[in-house]
């Protein structure tokens, strides 16, 4: 079996990093950074997701096709969010109706 066995220490380090980043996102949320609060929150969340995907889900050690599938999924999600939001913004529909 050519399956790569990840050393347990890597898992522990990644877990520590994830908990640290969680604390960081909480602390940053307490500061008033204006529009950058969202950017910071999403950036940190993306880093955490990347760590989980690469190390816990073994994407770092897996075949290229796994990375392709992940990127494809993110592409479609991006398309969904981007095109829908441009539609709402262009029509001036944000904030109406609730």
């Amino acid at each position: 079996m050519s399956e790569h066995i990840v050393p347990r220490k890597i898992y522990l380090v990644v877990c520590a990093a994830l908990l640290g980043l969680t604390f960081a996102t909480y602390r940053l949320a307490l500061l008033d950074l204006g529009p950058w609060n969202v950017v910071a929150a999403l950036t940190i969340a993306s880093c955490k997701a990347l760590l989980v995907t690469l190390f816990f889900m073994h994407a770092r050690y897996g075949p290229r096709r796994t990375q392709l599938v992940i990127l494809a999924g993110l592409f479609w999600l991006g398309l969904l969010l981007f095109l829908t939001m441009t539609d709402y913004v262009a029509r001036g529909w944000l904030g109406r109706g609730a």
Partner: protein
């Protein structure tokens, strides 16, 4: 005791191809899950972009401490799940059972805390519907926020319940010695699912609980 009958199913060339097929299948399923949750994240994006102040105000009614603790619980549960896979890869049955059990307990802890939160929301009239009550002029957008809160965390919690069920199944199978260093695919695939559900919460926490915390 020998590993018994080969786990190889006849339409695969060898065990490695079989394992790769399982992995590809699970990853593609997870992509469909990305789109499934994606729809709700889209609704959230539209809602928050349209009512930033109201969403911020509504968000402050969520319990950050409980949400933060739950985030920690899930992160550690992903660690124990990864360690369970490691144990199955190295043929350590007792360790596998231990880590599966731990992951399951952490999952149940998460669900319990979620239940506590939901009960609290119910008592404070923050569940959307006829009993909903929110002070100030932003009541309607606030109700929209809470609709999204319950829909997104509810869908996530449903995935957690399924995950706990899967873990219980894995635990039973592991006790019967079904997983060896040569065949541990179900453990690994379930791990992928569990980590994915963790990733969803990694995004839910800041987006729902940390909107305008500096006020």
């Amino acid at each position: 005791m020998p590993e018994g009958r080969s786990a190889l199913v006849e339409h695969f060339r060898d065990l490695e191809q079989q394992r790769e097929a399982s992995s590809l299948g699970m990853w593609i399923f997870l992509v469909t899950e990305i789109m499934f949750f994606g729809g709700l994240f889209l609704a959230y994006t539209v809602g928050r972009s349209g009512y930033p102040a109201a969403f911020g105000e509504a968000s402050r009614h969520l319990d950050v401490a409980l949400g933060g603790i739950n985030t920690g619980v899930l992160i550690v549960s992903s660690l124990t799940m990864a360690l369970a896979v490691w144990a199955s890869q190295t043929g350590k049955r007792k360790m596998l059972l231990g880590y599966l059990g731990l992951t399951l307990l952490l999952g149940l802890t998460f669900l319990t805390l979620k239940g506590v939160e939901y009960a609290d929301k119910f008592h404070h009239h923050l569940v959307p519907g006829s009993a909903f009550s929110f002070p100030g002029a932003a009541a309607r957008p606030a109700e929209l926020f809470f609709s999204l809160y319950f829909a997104m965390t509810g869908l996530h919690a449903l995935h957690m319940v399924i995950g706990v069920g899967v873990l219980a199944f894995l635990f039973r199978q592991a006790r019967r010695g079904r997983y060896t260093a040569q065949y541990y695919t179900p453990v690994e695939m379930s791990g992928l699912y569990w980590h994915f559900v963790d990733i969803i919460w990694i995004f839910l926490f800041p987006l729902l609980y940390l909107i305008d915390r500096h006020r």
